[in-house]
């Protein structure tokens, strides 16, 4: 049984405009999947339907044998502990230390009181340091998060999701706010760590070349529907034209811009 099944998923924020429509796909354990598409295609919404950060309107999302849309509050929190999430703007608490931000990933396993008082076990703290070391930012552990560069903050975000010991990590445009060097570092870390730990990874990207070079499989999204789903080596120019709605005779400069 696949780790994640999406069946006839549909979503609309207001009655007339549909953001997602009739999506169907499955994700196997350990896959590295990229979702590409122009802005407004519904990539972020799709990701947020998986851990129900937005409510699911139609169809269903089945994660690890459980239908996400049907869970009550407590069950949903339990499922979310198994789903890590990484954001474009890192979404850290700026005034807290790096290590505190990493440990925030453990809240799903704690009672409210333990969480509010910030009671973490020594093993959890050591695990946090282990992850920071793996990501190469161990020396910043006691710095305030907002003193770090964008790439370093994103690595804190990755550590926060990994300390959840998730089965899947959802990455929403993880490199959209980063320069090319930092982007490469982040993508390399994501790829190697998820592979090593056997974690499934779904990444929203708008850079086609990066998607092709890192992922096993690519899904192309346009106007809330899937227009391409296959191994990354099968993605060709005619597909990207379809995904981004550009014509084959479009001027090369424009395509250049989109591809970067």
């Amino acid at each position: 049984m696949p780790l994640l099944q999406i069946k006839d998923l549909g979503k609309s924020y207001n009655s007339d405009a549909k953001v997602l429509q009739g999506l169907n796909f499955e994700v196997e354990s350990g896959e590295f999947l990229s979702i590409i598409g122009p802005s407004g295609a519904g990539k972020s919404t799709l990701l947020r339907c998986i851990n129900r950060m937005v409510e699911i309107d139609e169809g269903k999302v089945v994660f690890d044998g459980q239908e996400v849309g049907k869970l009550n509050k407590k069950e949903l929190r339990k499922v979310r502990t198994n789903i890590g999430m990484i954001f474009q703007h890192y979404n850290l608490v700026p005034r807290l230390s790096v290590i505190e931000n990493v440990l925030h990933g453990r809240f799903g396993y704690k009672t409210t009181i333990q969480g509010v008082l910030g009671r973490f076990t020594e093993a959890e703290k050591e695990h946090a340091f282990f992850l920071l070391k793996k990501l190469g930012i161990e020396e910043h552990a006691y710095k305030r998060c907002d003193q770090l560069s964008g790439g370093q903050q994103q690595r804190v975000g990755i550590a926060r999701s990994l300390i959840q010991e998730p089965k899947i990590v959802l990455c929403d445009e993880p490199i959209a706010s980063l320069d090319p060097n930092a982007s490469k570092v982040i993508m390399d870390h994501l790829k190697s760590i998820t592979q090593e730990l056997g974690i499934t990874c779904i990444v929203n990207l708008h850079q086609v070349e990066i998607a092709k070079s890192y992922s096993d499989r690519i899904i192309g999204l346009n106007k809330g529907g899937i227009v391409f789903d296959g191994p990354s080596y099968r993605l060709h120019r005619n597909h990207t034209d379809q995904i981004y709605g550009t014509q084959t005779q479009a001027t090369p400069e424009i395509r250049e811009l989109i591809m970067v």
Binding site: M53, V79, P94
Partner: protein, 262 residues
């Protein structure tokens, strides 16, 4: 052409505005019986009176221990009203803020409580509470407490709304509970601002405590009133001076704390 007419209408607006202000000033003077010339004329006289009568003398200094005790009571009353008010205002502001609010009904309730307790003047609270609580510290404390809740709720709602939503989203995604999110994503971001507001409220409450004290017969306000009514102006000067000193010391301390934490 167009610019000219605009300039002309601007000019008329200005003239109208100035006339309105002058008109309202005259109307206010008429209704209150305020005479500006008389007001200015009394200033030098008042200054001379203050300089000659409000003098701290050896004799008044003997009252210093009593005054200091009352001052301490007033300061503690203001701090207690602020801190307990903070606890209530914190939960009300969680309900009232867009970021942390859960149900609309609670939000409306929180804003209503805040608005009512803030806009009913502290004087009215003091007088109402005096009737049933009697002449003791608790009356003064409660009057200040109600005002603090109102003011701090509004201030906290603003601080929480300003805090970034992104960390809240991230913690929600990890499966954190409501209060974990509030205390670990929202509070750390708002803490400096909240403390700043709390310090501001303590300063305000010490000044208000004098007023409330005069009405309810408690704290330093009562001491002031007593000397004032018995025409013991040297003691009045000493009380005033000790209040000034206390407020300035507290203000300096708050300024230091603000500078460090923000």
């Amino acid at each position: 052409m167009n610019e000219k007419t605009m300039k002309a209408s601007r000019k008329w607006q200005t003239i109208f505005f100035i006339l309105l202000i002058i008109g309202m000033t005259l109307a206010s003077s008429a209704i209150t019986g305020f005479n500006i010339i008389h007001g200015i004329a009394t200033l030098p006289k008042a200054g001379a009176w203050i300089l000659s009568n409000l003098m701290i003398t050896q004799e008044s200094l003997e009252r210093l221990p009593t005054i200091l005790e009352k001052l301490l009571e007033t300061i503690l009353m203001s701090i207690a009203a602020t801190t307990t008010g903070t606890a209530v205002a914190f939960f009300l502001s969680l309900m009232g803020s867009k970021t942390t609010g859960t149900k609309k009904v609670f939000g409306v309730f929180a804003r209503f409580v805040a608005s009512a307790s803030r806009n009913i003047p502290v004087v009215a609270w003091a007088l109402i509470l005096l009737l049933s609580f009697g002449q003791n510290s608790v009356t003064g404390y409660l009057a200040l407490f109600v005002g603090s809740v109102g003011f701090l709720t509004r201030a906290f709602i603003e601080s929480i709304d300003e805090a970034s939503q992104s960390a809240v989203e991230a913690l929600r995604a990890t499966g954190a509970t409501y209060f974990q999110i509030v205390f670990k994503a929202v509070v750390p971001q708002c803490m400096p601002q909240m403390i700043s507001w709390i310090l501001f409220m303590i300063e305000t409450n010490i000044r208000n405590a004098t007023l409330v004290g005069i009405l309810t017969g408690t704290g330093i306000g009562y001491t002031f009133d007593l000397y004032y009514k018995t025409l013991n102006y040297n003691a009045v000067a000493l009380v005033t001076f000790s209040i000034i000193l206390a407020v300035i010391v507290i203000e300096l301390m708050s300024n230091y704390i603000r500078k460090v934490i923000i």
